[in-house]
């Protein structure tokens, strides 16, 4: 029966078949691509989040170190002021008093 078919009609049928097959291929790729993209997105986001977490951890550590140093410097400064006061407060008072009672 097929052999007796009008060659133009046969070509038309074949063309329809091509379109159908092509659409099927595109459809399959489309579905596959969407799932693949989602998977890729998840991976990239997870990798980015890991880097961000590491960065935050490092920065937090650095911040704590800087703040600790700052606290030590402050404690040291307060210690120095206290020692200076304990050793010199009488002299300081006398010196300031003398400066005041000396006419400018």
């Amino acid at each position: 029966m097929e052999n007796n078919k009008d060659p133009y009609a046969a070509s038309f049928d074949q063309a329809k078949e091509i379109i159908t097959q092509t659409r099927n291929v595109q459809g399959r790729y489309g579905v596959a691509a969407t799932a693949e993209i989602e998977q890729l997105r998840r991976e990239y986001i997870e990798r980015a989040q890991r880097r961000i977490d590491i960065y935050r951890e490092n920065e937090q550590e650095h911040l704590e170190t800087v703040m600790r140093e700052m606290d030590e410097q402050r404690a040291d400064k307060l210690r120095r002021i206290k020692i200076a006061y304990d050793n010199n407060n009488i002299e300081w008072v006398d010196e300031i008093f003398r400066n005041i009672i000396t006419p400018d």
Binding site: I18, I37, L40, Y55, I81, I100, I101
Partner: protein, 173 residues
């Protein structure tokens, strides 16, 4: 044969288009991830800078307050000595020196301002000068005036100046 080629070409084209799309999507996802990292880094830096800045301010406040206690203690002791000094003859000598100096610098004196407690003694010591009370003078010293020009020899002014110098001195420790 021609039609088979057509099928193959279309299929290849579909695959090629898909590969190009995949590359473009991958590029877009990479950019999204990069932007996400950049934004987070910026946020983290800002947050840390804010935290550090607050810590610095708190730290400075604490040092400032502690220094303030020592400055207050020293200045209170100085004030106590000044009040004792006021009870002595040396104080009157001091006032005389201030008046002489003001007289010289201002080229004469028309008026003296003193504290309430010094009013009588100053009027007695300087009968030729108009001596008035000035409520701003609480501890001692004088403000001398001649033709609108004044010189401030009050303990209050000197205490303020000495306090500033002393605060500076403590900051340099």
């Amino acid at each position: 044969m021609v039609l088979n080629d057509e099928i193959n070409n279309n299929a290849e084209a579909a695959v090629s288009v898909d590969q190009n799309n995949k590359d473009a999507v991958e590029e877009k996802l990479l950019t999204e991830a990069y932007d996400m990292i950049q934004q987070s880094v910026f946020d983290i830096k800002s947050e840390m800078a804010r935290e550090l800045s607050m810590h610095k301010i708190e730290s400075k406040k604490e040092v400032f307050a502690e220094k303030g206690h020592y400055v207050d203690a020293v200045m209170a002791a100085v004030k106590k000595q000044l009040l004792e000094f006021k009870k002595t003859d040396a104080y009157i000598e001091y006032l005389k020196k201030c008046v002489a100096k003001a007289n010289e610098k201002l080229d004469g004196l028309t008026r003296l301002y003193v504290s309430r407690t010094d009013l009588d003694i100053m009027r007695a010591v300087f009968p030729d000068i108009d001596v008035k009370q000035d409520l701003r003078i609480m501890i001692g010293g004088i403000i001398a005036e001649n033709d609108g020009l004044t010189m401030d020899f009050t303990f209050e002014r000197k205490l303020r100046a000495e306090r500033e110098k002393f605060e500076q001195k403590l900051s340099e420790l």
